[in-house]
């Protein structure tokens, strides 16, 4: 499509996209309202699986929000010009994804109307309370970072604010991973590995989201991505995917080292039904091995479409991974009396059942809708498209 032809329909296309995303957001809010008025009894959650599908969506968006800022950090903190040009979009996506994730998390509370209580009562020993501070601080720092990048007078501060944002986002994802890592009661969690694992997961999911959004923006503007830039980004993405796989393997090997964890490992890796399938097919095959093969393939890996498909699969794999971690970790029963068979009316000693319901899914989708509605509007209002491509695109270096 040529630019003039696109320009004619751009306004209509923007409003159509904004309306579609707005509808997704409205449906999500409707689902949240339905859950609040009827109570969590209309969800698949119960007193055994207390965090359900909304948490999978929320944690994915929050983790990806932190990771997507990595693109800006590589540019500002490590001085790579290709990434520096993408820093504004990276910052915008970070704010938008975090807003979407936190909205889902907040609307899934038993008492979302008490948000003000969560903002005014702090138990500083709680990782959750720490996260509230880290999330709000993240908004402030990234917004300041965007200001320094987009306001010429503030350019001089960009590197310092960028460095602060980098430190802050590492702390934020450490705390997100620690929400699980500090839970000593459950066999799936209680591991110091979870914090660094969440950091590397954030790098991978965040970059995958960035690549997809960037590709859509290029397509929207009738542009094509410079091959050298594409090659760098896809190699980095492959490195992150490999690192997530490494942490996943180490996590399970560590568990397998301790005899008391064998039952849990057998559950996740062999006998856990939907969780085992999601681990092997969702996380490992679709989210790790196929994307790695695509990204590292000498010819396929240099095609924009292939990279976008790989990024999409990494996102699908990310959801599968978080489902296994969050829901699978709760489905495995607590072992109160080792060596004894346990039974009770409260489902002691049995694998806990969870069947997500439509309102939970719609609430999660609403969060995604919020993230991309904010992005769409911001991109139209301000110039967030990576600028280098307007000046340095070279026909010879294009592919597909």
């Amino acid at each position: 499509m040529n630019f003039e032809a696109f320009h004619k329909i751009e306004e209509r296309a923007f409003y159509a996209l904004a309306a579609a995303l707005g509808l997704v957001v409205l449906i999500g809010l409707g689902a949240a309202h339905y859950m609040e008025t009827h109570g969590h009894v209309v969800t698949g959650m119960n007193n055994q699986i207390v965090w359900g599908l909304p948490h999978v969506f929320a944690v994915f968006l929050i983790v990806a929000a932190s990771g997507v800022l990595n693109v800006a950090s590589i540019g500002s903190v490590f001085g790579k010009p290709i990434y520096k040009a993408r820093a504004p979009l990276s910052g915008l996506l970070a704010i938008a994804l975090l807003a979407g994730g936190l909205t889902v998390l907040m609307l899934d509370l038993g008492r979302p109307d008490r948000l003000i209580v969560a903002m005014t009562h702090f138990n500083f020993k709680s990782i959750f309370a720490l996260n509230v501070i880290l999330y709000t601080g993240f908004f402030a720092i990234v917004a300041t970072y965007l200001w320094t990048m987009m306001e010429r007078k503030m350019y001089g501060f960009s590197k310092y604010v960028g460095f602060s944002a980098f430190i802050w986002r590492i702390a934020l994802t450490t705390a997100t991973g620690s929400i699980f890592g500090f839970l000593v009661a459950r066999q799936a969690y209680s591991s110091a590995l979870l914090a660094p694992m969440f950091i590397i997961m954030s790098f991978s999911y965040g970059l995958a989201v960035f690549i997809i959004v960037q590709s859509f923006m290029y397509a929207w503007n009738g542009m094509k991505l410079d091959l050298a830039i594409l090659r760098r980004m896809k190699n980095l993405l492959a490195t992150f995917v490999g690192a997530v796989m490494y942490f996943t393997i180490v996590y399970h090997l560590t568990n397998l080292y301790f005899a008391k964890q064998w039952d849990f490992e057998r559950f996740i890796l062999l006998e856990g039904g939907v969780f085992t399938t999601l681990f092997w097919v969702g996380q490992m095959l679709i989210g790790t091995l196929i994307p790695l093969a695509l990204l590292l393939h000498p010819t396929l890996g240099t095609r924009c479409k292939t990279v976008v498909w790989a990024a999409g699969m990494i996102i699908v794999g990310g959801f599968a991974q978080l489902y296994v971690i969050i829901i699978g970790g709760q489905a495995f029963p607590l072992n109160l009396f080792p060596g004894m068979q346990q039974s009770s009316s409260f489902f002691d000693g049995v694998i806990h059942h969870y069947q997500p319901t439509l309102p939970e899914f719609l609430l999660g989708m609403g969060g995604i809708g919020i993230a991309f509605l904010l992005t769409t509007i911001a991109v139209r209002v301000l110039r967030f498209i990576p600028q280098d491509d307007f000046h340095h695109v070279s026909k010879e270096m294009l592919t597909d």
């Binding site: 609040e36 119960n46 020993k125 109160l336």
Partner: protein, 252 residues
């Protein structure tokens, strides 16, 4: 003179009879008050405006040898006292009967499981707003005015002792307000304990003649619970977590 002597004798008799009357009166009054004084002393009831004291550590000793399989008197009494049924899958269960079978020996046990009222409660550690808290006398509670329903405490509890209220509640006990969207758990029947009574489960177990649940002050060396814990081996569930729980088990 003789009249004077008679008068003085009459006066003495009147004084003696007045003394006798006062003495008998005091004795009767003492007898009337004594049981109340004795009860107050035994039950440690305290005025409503007096805060809970850290000198007391309320706890329970549960003897699984006296707890019969199939008996759920404690569970029923708890439901009646605190106003929940536990009939739906998502309903709260503050206390439940766990049936245990030793996989090696085949030996079986039955015992009630409830909030263990830890000295170092993980639910209190993780609660973002401070809604989960521990009273000075060791009872772990949820302040339902500031509980936001995040359920992090449920993720952190090693005993699965907490429940989330999934729907609107009806026919509540005014002494035990509960609410949709908040987390709750066994309060050790704090409303009864503060009145100087025993928790409902403990009372019901004793009334049925099982006497498997002994409630009392773990800090008082003269209390029956403290004496029994000092005299016999007891178990803390998940003792590996070092939570120093207030609920001890015997016979498992």
């Amino acid at each position: 003179m003789s009249n004077n002597v008679d008068n003085s004798q009459n006066d003495n008799e009147q004084v003696n009879s007045r003394r006798q009357f006062l003495g008998w009166g005091a004795a009767v009054a003492g007898l009337a008050i004594a049981p109340g004084v004795t009860l107050l002393d035994i039950a440690h009831g305290r005025p409503a405006d007096e805060p809970a004291s850290s000198k007391i550590r309320w706890g329970m000793l549960i003897d699984s040898g006296k707890c019969a399989t199939g008996c759920d008197d404690c569970v029923s009494a708890c439901g009646k006292e605190n106003g929940f049924s536990g009939k739906l899958e998502t309903d709260s269960q503050w206390i439940r009967k766990i049936e245990l079978k030793d996989l090696r020996t085949g030996n079986s046990h039955s015992l009630p499981m409830l909030c263990q009222h830890c000295e170092h409660p993980p639910c209190v550690d993780v609660c973002p707003t401070g809604a989960s808290f521990k009273r000075a006398d060791g009872i772990v509670l949820v302040d339902r005015h500031i509980c936001i329903g995040c359920r992090y405490c449920m993720m952190a509890c090693p005993y699965k002792a907490r429940s989330f209220v999934h729907q609107e509640l009806e026919d509540q006990n005014p002494d035990v307000p509960r609410g949709k969207g908040c987390v709750e758990s066994c309060t050790l029947c704090v409303q009864r304990v503060d009145r100087g009574e025993q928790p409902a489960c403990s009372d019901a177990c004793a009334a049925a003649g099982h006497n498997a649940i002994l409630f009392g002050d773990l800090n008082d060396p003269n209390s029956e619970i403290a004496k029994r814990i000092a005299a016999s081996a007891t178990t803390q569930v998940r003792a590996d977590l070092d939570l120093n729980v207030g609920i001890r088990y015997q016979g498992i």
